[in-house]
Symmetry: C2
Subunit: 303 residues, 2 copies
DNA sequence: CGCGCTAATTTGTCACGGACAATTTTTGTA
DNA sequence: TACAAAAATTGTCCGTGACAAATTAGCGCG
């Protein structure tokens, strides 16, 4: 029996992060991925193909070149992958993290949330994000790479944390006269958690935050920024966001926004970017955002 | 002088919502949008073109066909648009709704949230959803069609309500022995609010809900359903979801899930669907979900 | 052996047009 | 008028060629 068909052609980008054009070129150059069809004749990709593509993604991220890995069989890819993943030892020996992951694997949703709240303890949201959430996400990513957890575990985990942050942000009251920050995800980005963490630490410092969520065209972002009369616009780029799109997006937004409104961009991937446009600040770490906010408050009080 | 701002080819989808393939076909068939190049020779779209495309988007949403509107000049499009927007009746009859919309237009984010909470008053989440949220969203849609509000107003509104619901759900405690429901958006669907409303009324009835958010492949949904050992899977289809994809998606999921797990689908668009697959329940109204939950509770207590 | 510089190769993005299926409109007929 | 068949409209996907950007390899020189 053939492997079950599962991903429609249109969904392949969401599933693997590779664009259709890219995959088409690979098919022409490396004879992979093949064209496949469901029993009803619709084009699509088999589970096997999708898995191979996911492994290719991992290996490309690990530094391999497409010509070397695309076209290899699942076995070859896996061999390569274990070789690589073994060479990167599990540094996430954080006991706290593995405890949370265990709870997730047991599918104990209530228990996970309770444990999460307990880990929060007396921490600020900033401390909580750095010492609990970030390691947990990293540990989950590694666990997924090892095959220890499934994708839905990651989704569920993110969702729980997002909800918790939503609730926490809602109960924070902005200080009088504090800056007003517009929060949004860049177009095409759907990973909320990063943005929520930024919003949480900003709100915790007393800033007034206004969030638009995802799927905002950049020109709408500009309209919102002026109509809300905000003091800054904050974006968040996840690791899944195509690195080559980051600078163009930022430059584009920079052109649209009036110069007096600074752009703050968060996300660990920004660490690798050297030359930022003027008027755009990059914050690979959460602390940077807090510092930027405090700078802004100082500026405002000086006047 | 030529218009100066250019949108890169790759960004056009985010800006207008039209895909590259689609625009290419339009260029081939209607000689619009033209291929343009920046001073440096990069391909892109001029502001004028982007504006025309945005108007086309509005008119298509209003029921026109591409062959009729694509290729018209900006002036012709605007004339058409005012003609149409005048015909959209100002059915903001509900005073409560227009009050909220006014608050949104003033970009008074804190005031909007406060007003929202006030409207909640002593209502249950179900009553709140039906009497406040749903009319508000409908009113906003109409206002957008008339050009009274911008897209970012809608986004901001949805986001505020979503956050409120998140917080409310988090404070609800499930009853002992109540059914466990897995909540998720179908692949490609990104409108959370509908799903959140369903989750809210379920949680309000004492059900235990487990939400995975969006972008879950259907097979992962199945894995999650079995590993969490849920009693039902609930999905939500927004009006933006392509109607022709609804039944295939539901059938696909039905094949994946064990028969004992019912599928509940919510969303106003489901009202138009006549023949549902067995084992799938369609709920165009929120009440239906509550009824289904109560039925399930009865079933369980009988045993 | 390291360091820069240039050439060659690899890789990704875009445009184009053909094929095709889904949908809507028009036409023909009872 | 009603309803079925035919025609058109429309969007999505595919393969291919062109091209620019990124990467690697080659090479001379200190």
């Amino acid at each position: 029996m053939k492997s079950r068909l599962f991903v429609a052609s249109a969904d392949i980008e969401r599933e693997t992060g590779f664009g259709r054009d890219q995959l088409r070129k690979w098919r022409q150059r490396f004879q992979f991925p093949p064209l496949e069809f469901t029993a009803e004749g619709k084009p699509g990709y088999s589970v096997n193909t999708v898995n191979r593509l996911r492994l290719v993604r991992r290996l490309l991220d690990g530094g391999f070149r497409p010509g070397y890995v695309v076209g290899k069989t699942l076995e070859e890819l896996e061999k390569l992958h274990v070789a690589v993943s073994l060479s990167v030892p599990r540094v996430c020996d954080d006991e706290s993290t593995s405890e949370l992951i265990e709870q997730l694997k047991k599918a104990d949703s209530a228990g996970f949330l309770k444990l999460l709240v307990k880990k929060r303890a007396k921490k600020t949201l900033l401390q909580f994000s750095r010492s609990v959430v970030a390691p947990l996400l990293k540990g989950l990513g590694d666990a997924w790479a090892r095959g220890d957890v499934e994708i839905h575990h990651e989704h569920f985990c993110s969702f729980c944390i997002e909800r918790y942050f939503h609730a926490q942000i809602l109960r924070l009251k902005p200080k009088r006269g504090a800056p007003k920050i517009l929060m949004a995800l860049p177009p095409g980005e759907h990973h909320f958690l990063g943005l929520l963490m930024i919003e949480a630490v900003l709100a915790e410092q007393g800033a007034m935050t206004v969030s638009l969520g995802s799927d905002i065209p950049l020109n709408e972002l500009k309209l919102a920024a002026t109509s809300h009369n905000v003091d800054a616009v904050a974006l968040s780029f996840s690791a899944a966001y195509p690195a080559r799109d980051i600078l163009p997006t930022l430059k584009h937004l920079r052109r649209l926004l009036p110069r007096r409104i600074p752009i703050w961009a968060g996300g660990a991937t920004l660490a690798g970017i050297k030359n930022r446009p003027t008027g755009v600040s990059l914050f690979p770490e959460l602390d940077g955002v807090v510092a930027a906010l405090n700078d802004m408050v100082d500026q405002m009080s000086v006047r």
